[in-house]
Amino acid sequence: MNTNAKLFWILCGFFVLADIAYTVWSIVVHNAGYLTQLAGVQAPGTDPGSPVEWAGTLAIGLSAIMSAFIAFYLGRSHRSVGGELPEDRLDANIDDGDAEQGFFSPWSWWPVMLAAGGALLFMGIAIGIWLAFIGVAVTAISLVGWVYEYYRGNFAR
């Protein structure tokens, strides 16, 4: 986790440098335009505008701040929880970093039922409200069926 934190601190530093470069560059380019105005190319009396391009300056600056958030959070988590991730080891393999995928049903009809219920519900709202009532019933049954699929029958714990 230490490596992850460091990576995000590096990313934060990169965004700070990029922001400085972007801001300076936009001022330079703007002033170049200002010089053409002095030479009479730009229409006289038009507002030259702000020398800083605020949209990009803010976006890159916020990217730096958000990288710092994640880096700070990872550093704090590392200090309180500890633990060595594969990213911290030089001899780790790619598949050592496989995340815990959680539990997924090998197959289930409930998502298909739920999709059909939702389709009926919204089709009913669009073309005839009587259909929506059937859709609500199918949706409710399949939602409960899906949520409790592994909580009853063979799988009851």
Binding site: F103, L143, V147, Y151, A156
Partner: protein
């Protein structure tokens, strides 16, 4: 992203027709909405205490004292507070419609009901999710990590919906 779009609708209409806002916003009952907001924020706190209980893998209470409550009791409390919030919204809508602010009355009405209405739908979805989580706690003999995880996931959703409402409340009722 979805709510950002709704906020953008609200801000755009506000900037193009300020006179409509001047005419319609005095009809809002701000103390009433503030009370409702406090109820919703309180439900986030009770939901978080439910998460703490779930992380102790404690589904049910060991006494009437809230310190001894389990996840189920805290989520029932959150459900009650959330349900009071939605009921309060319904009464507020009824009052506003009686003052001729409706979805079809003008662009202020459209923006108001779209933003708060979609939020209320999300709250209702969260209420249903809480009931399903409470049901899971009752359907197992041993409340385990799988049930605790689903509790935490629903609480994340609930906190998100709560934060969106704080934004909506500040924009619609405070800034106007």
């Amino acid at each position: 992203m979805f709510f950002a779009g709704l906020f953008a609708i609200y801000f755009t209409l506000r900037s193009t027709s300020p006179e409509l806002w001047a005419a319609e916003t005095p009809k809002l009952n701000v103390p009433y909405a503030l009370t409702n907001t406090i109820i919703l924020v309180a439900s986030s706190f009770t939901a978080q205490f439910g998460v703490f209980a779930a992380e102790r893998l404690q589904a049910k209470r060991t006494g009437w004292n809230p310190v001894k409550w389990g996840m189920v009791e805290w989520f029932f409390a959150s459900y009650a507070l959330g349900a009071i919030f939605v009921t309060g919204q319904v009464f507020e809508y009824a009052n506003l419609v009686s003052e001729n602010v409706s979805l079809a009355s003008n662009s202020y009405g459209s923006a108001f009901y779209l933003t708060t209405g979609f939020h209320a739908l999300h709250v209702t979805g969260g209420l249903i999710a809480m009931l399903l989580i409470i049901g899971r706690a009752y359907s197992v003999k041993n409340f385990g990590h799988k049930e605790a995880t689903s509790t935490i996931v629903v609480s994340y959703y609930w906190h998100f919906v709560d934060v969106v409402w704080i934004g909506l409340f500040l924009v619609i009722y405070v800034l106007k």
